[in-house]
């Protein structure tokens, strides 16, 4: 991917450009700079995509370059959950609970076709058509499985998203984002 393409959706930064107080804006920048460069992922993987997630952590691709390497086994210490793999009915409550156990601010990356839409297993009786049905997703990384480079691209998009967040001045907490099922019910 070329450098120019990488910058094309600049609207994320533009979202914040209007009406930010200089002092708190700077404070925000500082905090977000720190947060976006130390995203701790949860070690969570259900299937094939999880192996590519592990490859991304190993020597060749080296997640540590971006500050993602501190994989945590406990959701309470993690900032981002990378849903790597198919989520099935029996797993759904477990994933939901893991997400609920994470402390705010928290982010979700849907890695691979399965986590996005059910992927190759869309027609199965036991597979969720995307994790969006139970938890809100911040970044989608398509692929089956996505290459580690693609995964990094997705994580860098998440970093940009974090950099545009307002921590001070507005509200201190993110509002709970609705999931697909909740929206449909309304």
């Amino acid at each position: 991917m070329k450098e120019e393409d990488f910058n094309e959706n600049e609207y994320i930064e533009q979202l914040r450009a209007a009406g930010t107080n200089v002092v708190v804006g700077k404070l925000d920048d500082l905090i977000n700079w720190g947060r976006s460069n130390s995203l701790w992922p949860l070690t969570f993987a259900t299937s094939c995509c999880g192996i590519e997630f592990m490859s991304a952590g190993a020597a060749r691709f080296d997640m540590a370059r971006f500050g993602f390497e501190v994989a945590r086994a406990s959701p309470r210490q993690a900032d981002v959950i990378v849903v790597a793999g198919t989520i099935v009915h029996k797993m759904a409550p477990v994933l939901k609970r893991l997400y609920d156990q994470m402390a705010e601010p928290k982010y979700v990356v849907a890695m691979g076709g399965c986590a996005i839409s059910g992927g190759p297993f869309k027609n199965s009786y036991h597979v969720l058509k995307g994790v969006e049905e139970i938890i809100p997703v911040d970044v989608y990384v398509p692929g089956c499985p996505p290459k580690p480079e693609a995964f990094f691209y997705g994580m860098m998009q998440l970093q940009r998203k974090i950099k545009a967040e307002q921590y001070f001045g507005v509200v201190n907490r993110k509002e709970a984002k609705p999931t697909k099922t909740q929206t449909e019910k309304k």
Partner: protein, 542 residues
């Protein structure tokens, strides 16, 4: 072959024989158990290995198919039985004859609702307790509103319902205690870094000592077999890569072989060579990943980086030729998808030159380490008899002294043309399983060495029609995947869709044996045992 037929015929006059790939015999449900004992124990038959147990819905009846093999004579027989009672289907368990049947029967109970008399545990294993309907039956209603996405965790049952036959032949419902009221039960998984995926163990402890392990699967049950029933044969192929993604080529090879067998297609020699080489590359990459994760589980994190570093070399080879690092989708019916990349041979030779040095380093770094040895030696002992009874194949079975390598027993590809050793150890502990895998890497290198310069010229695939119809019948084929014998069963009714596809994975047998291996060991040893068995969870759950 006639001998088997005669013997069964004289033992059980009501047995009905059919023609097929192997001798096939249909028997009434109440005679199955007696026949099973006879087949296993008769000196000329010795069917001691239950290779596959498949549930079936034949429309007007529900039933099961047993694929039996003899480890002594390597002959096969297929036993079928069925019941027409669809409201309350009952068949007899053969769990006391072949222990692997216990978990397979639970699977069939989940999918077809058939209950097995005398199986002590008829709880759900893959599906939730509140699941409505039996998804593999042909009349299953797929309406998602019947089984909506649950948001509450499932309830775990400590008391298992079961059906028993009393001494005077009466059949009654009964209960069987899995965990006592005052057992101290802890949960490991489904989200736990050392279970290698989403597997759930419930472990009863006495202090630090394990009293019992109750595996709970299904957290990645994707219903692949059911999906195959509405896909055309070429479409079913791509799902096999995602079963055990670390044996992607091997699994797909099995399905292709099974279909080619049924169609009686002869694959070009070149394709056979390429397939065999790909299988062995896959095996090396899988065993390297085993080494990385096994060491990581035992606390040696550096090994993880070493193993993944070297595995990347193989993934590069795959990427050049197949276009993907994982889920390669390379084998196809009648050959392979594309010819090998011009760099292929060069890269493989580089790998062959590199790996022996790397392995030496691995052994220096980890194998000789006192902590590693103490955590693996003498832990999780599996006897040869148990390995066969539980159908523990692959490196884990060979570490117990069972010569179960499908590449040797029923050669496919070009395995009959190469010279390689079947690595056998007799200690049966975690360390033996570890060492078998490490030595197998060297054997795979050895196989590659013999093939890399001898790939014959020619076509890499025979042209197939886009719509493939298999002649009516039941077909079964096994290959040696990285974790053991991987079997594919296809039942065809002569249409372009299979009537039933069953993947008999090595993983399910491995999970079944965890309880046996870890009893009386310490809780920390469960990690070594799990690591040394090297199961892949989507392969268990399918």
């Amino acid at each position: 072959m006639g001998n088997i037929k005669e013997k069964i015929g004289s033992f059980l006059p009501e047995a009905v024989f059919e023609e097929g790939q192997y001798i096939t015999v249909s028997v009434p449900a109440d005679k199955v158990h007696a026949l099973a004992l006879y087949l296993r124990d008769d000196a000329d038959l010795r069917f001691d290995y239950l290779a596959n147990l498949t549930g079936m819905d034949w429309g007007e009846s529900l039933g099961v198919i047993y694929h039996l093999n003899s480890t002594t004579y390597n002959h096969w027989v297929i036993v079928k039985t069925s019941t027409t009672d669809k409201e309350n289907p009952l068949l007899y368990s053969v769990g006391d004859v072949w222990a692997t049947a216990l978990i397979n029967e639970r699977e069939i109970h989940d999918f077809y609702g058939i209950r097995f008399i005398n199986n002590p545990d008829m709880r759900h294993i893959f599906l939730r307790n509140d699941w409505k309907g039996f998804p593999f039956r042909k009349d299953y209603d797929t309406n998602p509103e019947i089984n909506p996405i649950p948001l509450e965790s499932d309830e775990y049952l400590d008391i298992a319902p079961c059906v028993k036959e009393t001494d005077n032949g009466k059949i009654e419902e009964s209960l069987n205690t899995i965990f006592e009221k005052d057992d101290y039960v802890i949960n490991i998984g489904p989200q736990h870094p050392a279970t290698h995926g989403v597997l759930h163990f419930r472990v009863a402890l006495d202090g630090e000592i394990i009293k019992k392990v109750d595996p709970n699967c299904g957290y990645i049950h994707r219903g692949i077999e059911k999906m195959c029933e509405s896909l055309t044969y070429p479409q079913t192929l791509h799902l096999t890569d995602r079963l055990d993604y670390l044996s992607a080529h091997n699994n797909r090879h099995a399905l292709c072989l099974c279909i080619e067998d049924a169609l009686q297609v002869e694959v070009p020699e070149r394709a056979k060579y390429i397939r065999t080489m790909m299988d062995e590359l896959m095996r090396i990459s899988s065993h390297l990943l085993f080494w990385s994760t096994c060491c990581m589980d035992l606390g040696a994190l550096t090994a993880f980086f070493y193993g993944f570093r070297d595995r990347e070399k193989i993934l590069d080879i795959f990427e050049e030729t197949c276009g993907a690092r994982m889920t390669m989708n390379y084998n196809t019916i009648g050959g392979v998808m594309a010819d090998i990349h011009p760099n292929f041979q060069k890269r493989v030779k580089e790998l062959i030159a590199y790996l022996p040095k790397a392995l030496k380093e691995y052994h220096t770094v980890f194998t000789g380490n006192v902590i590693a040895q103490q955590r693996m030696k003498g832990i999780g002992y599996l006897t040869k008899e148990d390995a066969i009874s539980y159908s523990v194949t692959g490196p884990s079975g060979r570490a117990s002294g069972w010569t179960c390598d499908v590449r040797k027993r029923t050669p496919y590809g070009v395995y009959d043309k190469v010279d390689f050793k079947e690595i056998i150890r007799t200690e049966g502990d975690a360390f033996a399983r570890y060492m078998v895998r490490m030595d197998e890497i060297m054997e795979s290198v050895h196989i590659l060495e013999q093939l890399v310069d001898n790939i014959p010229e020619g076509d890499y695939a025979v042209k197939m029609k886009p719509i493939i119809k298999l002649p009516e019948g039941t077909y079964f084929r096994q290959v040696e995947a990285c974790r053991g014998a991987f079997g594919v069963l296809i039942e065809s009714k002569g249409e372009k869709y299979p009537y039933r596809v069953k993947f008999s994975s090595p993983g399910l047998a491995l999970v079944n044996v965890v309880d046996l291996l870890s009893r009386k060991n310490k809780i920390a040893d469960l990690i070594s045992i799990g690591a040394s068995l090297d199961y892949v969870v989507p392969d268990i759950d399918r």
